[in-house]
């Protein structure tokens, strides 16, 4: 009788030990899997932010392409005028937290003017660790940054014997807009 009780006791001890080991390994596996799930979720969230920022940046770049006066266009579109000369126009963040900034640069050439608009999209709602910290210099680094450049040649001097205008030739008081978009129109 005592031997049977001792045998059953030994079996219980073995079963208990096995359960403890099983639970331990299950916990280790669960922790590892959770870390992988969290990392995948963060990467997925980061990809969504970057994709959305790229779409917004491309949208504004195409709108500003061919604009002789991008400052006026940005003001009409709701961008806040910069306080300083080197500061950019800023569009307040939308419902998703995307903030658009635009800096207008003008470079004078011998026969025309090159207007470059640098567009950057930031998101102030991103959580810590959503973006690979090795790639971002600072928390305020933009998700997308594009430059849209358009060249506007100066109008040629008036000629004493002007030629009749050809079809498709652009007419302008100040600039002859040689950008592609106007010719496409």
């Amino acid at each position: 009788m005592t031997q049977i009780t001792a045998h059953e006791g030994n079996k219980s001890n073995v079963l208990l030990t096995e359960l403890v080991i099983v639970i331990l390994f299950f916990a280790l596996t669960a922790v590892t899997a959770m870390q992988m799930f969290v990392g995948a979720h963060q990467k997925s969230r980061s990809n969504a932010l970057v994709n959305r920022a790229m779409i917004i940046a491309q949208d504004w770049a195409e709108r500003l392409n061919g604009q002789l006066r991008p400052e006026d266009f940005l003001t009409q579109a709701g961008f806040a005028q910069p306080d300083e000369a080197d500061a950019g126009y800023c569009l307040p963040e939308d419902a998703e937290g995307n903030e658009v900034r635009a800096v207008v640069l003008r470079e004078r050439f011998d026969a025309g003017e090159l207007v470059t608009v640098k567009i950057s999209v930031l998101n102030n709602r991103r959580q810590f660790g959503e973006v690979d910290e090795a790639e971002q210099v600072s928390p305020s680094a933009p998700f997308a940054a594009l430059s849209s450049a358009s060249y506007f040649p100066d109008a040629p001097p008036p000629d004493s014997h002007p030629q009749p205008p050809e079809s498709g030739q652009a007419q302008s008081d100040e600039h002859i807009d040689g950008s592609v978009m106007d010719h496409a129109a």
Partner: protein, 189 residues
Amino acid sequence: MQPSKQDYRIGPGASSLLMIFVALCMTTLAILTLVSAVTDERMTKRAQETVYAYYDGAAQAQRLLADLDARLDRARRQADSAEVYADSVYALSGEDPNLAVQADAQEGFARIDFSAPMDDGRYIFVQLRVPLRLDGARFEVVRHAVENGDSWTPDDSMNLFGNEDALLSAEIDGFKEGAVVGSSFGEAP
């Protein structure tokens, strides 16, 4: 005699088997999820680099256009007649190897081609039509397209669509002739 009752109990190894099964499922699911996210991140970065390359190339093309327009304006100011101006325009190709100047199909016009690099063998091709006279607009952009400089060789080792060899061969021949991949706008009227 009554048959003896048998006690059915869960064996000591059942929990281990269950744990192994659950652990394998969780690990597999987690690995697949992470691999999918990493692949999506790689695709996002690739798309981002492509867009950046296009806009950088377009900006460089505009800068090249500004330099070229300055040279055209200088040549027009220095020329006494349209013939002298035309000679100056055709001499631009010798000054800059990136420029290709040739006579346009329409009389009295020259065609200037240049390109700005993008990435992976792609470049932005710009074609101008320059009127060879001393008044009016100096140029007109007739083509602004993304083109691929690398030749594309299709892999025809596998017949993927059944017995369509003839049609596939015709399509391959069409691509081998150097079809331009890209879009163009601002075509000359």
